[in-house]
Amino acid sequence: MVMDYFLVSLLNGVIYGLMLFMVSSGLTLIFGMMGVLNFAHASFYMIGAYIGYLCSLHLGFYAGLVIAPLVVGALGVFSERLLLRRVRPQGHTHELLLTFGLFFIFEEVIKVFFGNFAVPYQVPAGLDFAAFSVGSIEYPFYRLFIGVVALVMFVAILAVLQLTRLGIVVRAAVHRSDMVAALGHNVPTVFTALFGGGAALAGLAGAVAGAFFPTSPTMASDLGTLVFVVVVIGGLGSLSGAVVGALLIGVVTSFAVGLNVSLASLAASLGLGDTLTQMGGLFTVSLSSLAGTIPYLLMLLILLLRPSGLLGERS
């Protein structure tokens, strides 16, 4: 019985982590290559979900899985070519602030068109069934579907990065973009492509995950800082770091929920008595209610102890 729950918790955490990875992958590559932390990246995830929703109304759910990444990718290319590139000479801070502004605009534009509330983007009936049961727990097939899409995406990104010339150029440019340029590669265009590609990945993630989690204008801000946490923990610019960071956060959050432990109860079990319980306040807050905060604590620790992240290279 306990084992069942352990396994399901683990699976939950892994799949949530994989979903985080889908959004973070583009972010970390873009940062690695151009040093831009794109605040609007999670917005691409949100827009992908809305486009997936629109497609599901008119063209069907699966069409959305194709169209959403294409449209969002085009939006990414547009943002990079027409906006980001123009402020690049003023430095990274200006690029970061620009994406910060885009983040606001994207959210408000979505509100203008779709209103403030969640839209009814649903899992298609063909995918809405239990994949298996562990004891009395049914495991929804769609969660596995999300996980599979993320894995396929991971494998595809890896294949492109490892096996194609474009991938090699991108990996090289992540570390020394000026040398790549001196060898005759048009780095700004590669960056535009990468930005578009990263946006498309986030768009696909949105189209897939939006049907499971509600599609609402706050999707971006809900995930916005969390994906930063993922890439910082993993190491800015490191794709495998993003996988590790995302899985770590997914699993830790999933298990923390089950732990009704607080500082006070810990102290009591260590024989320190009830003083902390009587003091109340922070000491009686249970770990499970802090589940959403743990990622930030992890990030803070990483930043202070190993700023290059778990898998990032020391700079």
Partner: protein, 415 residues
């Protein structure tokens, strides 16, 4: 360009104002509707606009307050305490007499505090504070004051109603799991769930408090409730946290009834879809439960406003019905004295509310109102959000059945 939306809505209201503006009289009663008209809660704000306009128009058409129409103005709080305070300053500067809040508890608490301080400083221009949406216990508890009235329920009221109806119909079971947001509202919900355990003979097999509107994945919570073997999961969650919880519970195949409070927020049923089916809710109003009277109210509202009243909008109707009832009991005055209105409100009794009698408890200024516990079902008469689902009544509780004792921490100083 000023508040386009409410302009469209208030078309009918404007028409009636213009009839009366010919006969200008001194100092009409002015009500400031403090509701969110932009931002994440704008749709809720709109419900209050519709509801208040409905009652006030009807009252004005029937002659208003001694021939004087009530004026109703709306201010956008953006569901932020800072903005609400600004709008309060603006409203009192524009001579408003009643500050009627619709939306969340934090804005309600902030406005009630603003009114209390304003009245202390301006004894000659006092105003009343109506809470139509805040359900935090403190509003009629430690922070209660004579000029504040609550026309909404509290966690204690809602939970007791849910437990009463669900245990009567055998839906409750013996094991209950409480999942709530980790802030004062969620804490109050959890306390209420614990407090009712003996009375309705159930055991709280687990309780979780989670960060508010921060988590993206609720499946761990669904798993916890599954693990506990709970037969009913009770939650005070709203908006996104409610949707995520509903979906997680539905998709994990958790075999428990879900008891909720805010499932009738606009858009919730549409977004949750089939995941919401079978969930229970304690509602301020359900037309189907009130039979013909309910239908008549629904149709009259639709005739005047263009849509059926929904969810928290009914709190707006109730508050304005109570107010107009109280006004009608007062003799004609030269100037507006809110203390007399407040005293009249304490004694007001509304009998033509479709689900039963409404009265105001004088000791803490909490409205005593009937509640309906319903279940999301395809059989419901009135469908929600253009879906095939609606709220099918399970039990109608009279105001007497639904009341809970006044909070002992309320020490009201009366004039």
């Amino acid at each position: 360009m000023r508040t386009l939306k409410s302009k469209v809505l208030a078309l009918t209201a404007l028409a009636t104002f213009s009839i009366f503006s010919a006969a200008i009289q001194a100092a009409p009663l002015k009500i400031a509707g403090m509701v969110p008209l932009s931002g994440a809660s704008a749709a809720t704000g709109e419900l209050y606009v519709q509801a208040m306009t409905y009652v006030v128009n009807r009252f004005n058409e029937n002659g208003g307050w001694h021939g004087e129409p009530i004026k109703l103005e709306f201010y956008d709080t953006q569901e932020s305490t800072g903005v609400a305070s600004d709008r309060f300053q603006q409203a009192v500067a524009e001579g408003m007499n009643i500050i009627a809040q619709g939306g969340g508890s934090s804005v309600a608490a902030s406005l009630s505090g603003d009114v209390r301080r304003w009245n202390r400083r301006h004894p000659d221009q006092q105003v009343l504070s109506f809470t139509m949406g805040g359900e935090a216990a403190g509003l009629t508890g430690e922070n209660c004051h004579f000029h504040h009235f609550r026309f909404a329920t509290t966690a204690a009221i809602r939970v007791q109603a849910l437990m009463e109806a669900m245990s009567k119909t055998g839906a409750l079971g013996e094991k209950v799991y409480a999942i709530n947001q980790d802030y004062s509202w969620g804490h109050e919900m959890q306390e209420a769930i614990l407090a009712n355990a003996d009375k309705y003979d159930y055991e709280v097999v687990g309780k979780s408090l989670h960060a508010t509107n921060k988590l993206a994945d609720f499946s761990p919570y669904a798993l916890q409730s599954q693990r506990s073997g709970a037969q009913t999961v009770v939650t005070g969650n709203w908006s996104r946290d409610l949707l995520l919880l509903l979906k997680a519970i539905d998709q994990s195949g958790v075999d428990a009834n879900l008891a909720t409070v805010y499932l009738d927020q606009p858009g919730s049923i549409a977004a949750a879809g089939s995941a919401a089916e079978g969930s229970y809710i304690a509602q301020v109003f359900n037309a189907e439960a009130a039979k013909e009277k309910g239908a008549a109210y629904m149709e009259d509202f639709k005739k005047r406003i263009g849509t059926y009243p929904a969810g928290l909008g009914n709190n707006g109707v109730i508050s304005m019905m109570m107010l107009t009832k109280a006004l009608s009991s007062l003799p004609k005055q030269d100037s507006i004295d809110v203390n007399r209105i407040a005293l009249a409100l304490e004694k007001a009794q509304v009998d033509d509310w479709p689900t039963g009698t409404l009265t105001m408890r004088a000791s803490d200024h909490q409205l005593l109102l009937p509640l309906v516990v319903s279940k999301v079902s395809k059989d419901a008469r009135y469908k929600i959000d253009n879906t095939e689902y609606g709220f099918k009544p399970v039990q109608l509780l009279s105001a007497e059945q639904a009341r809970v004792p006044a909070d002992a921490s309320c020490e009201m100083q009366r004039p």
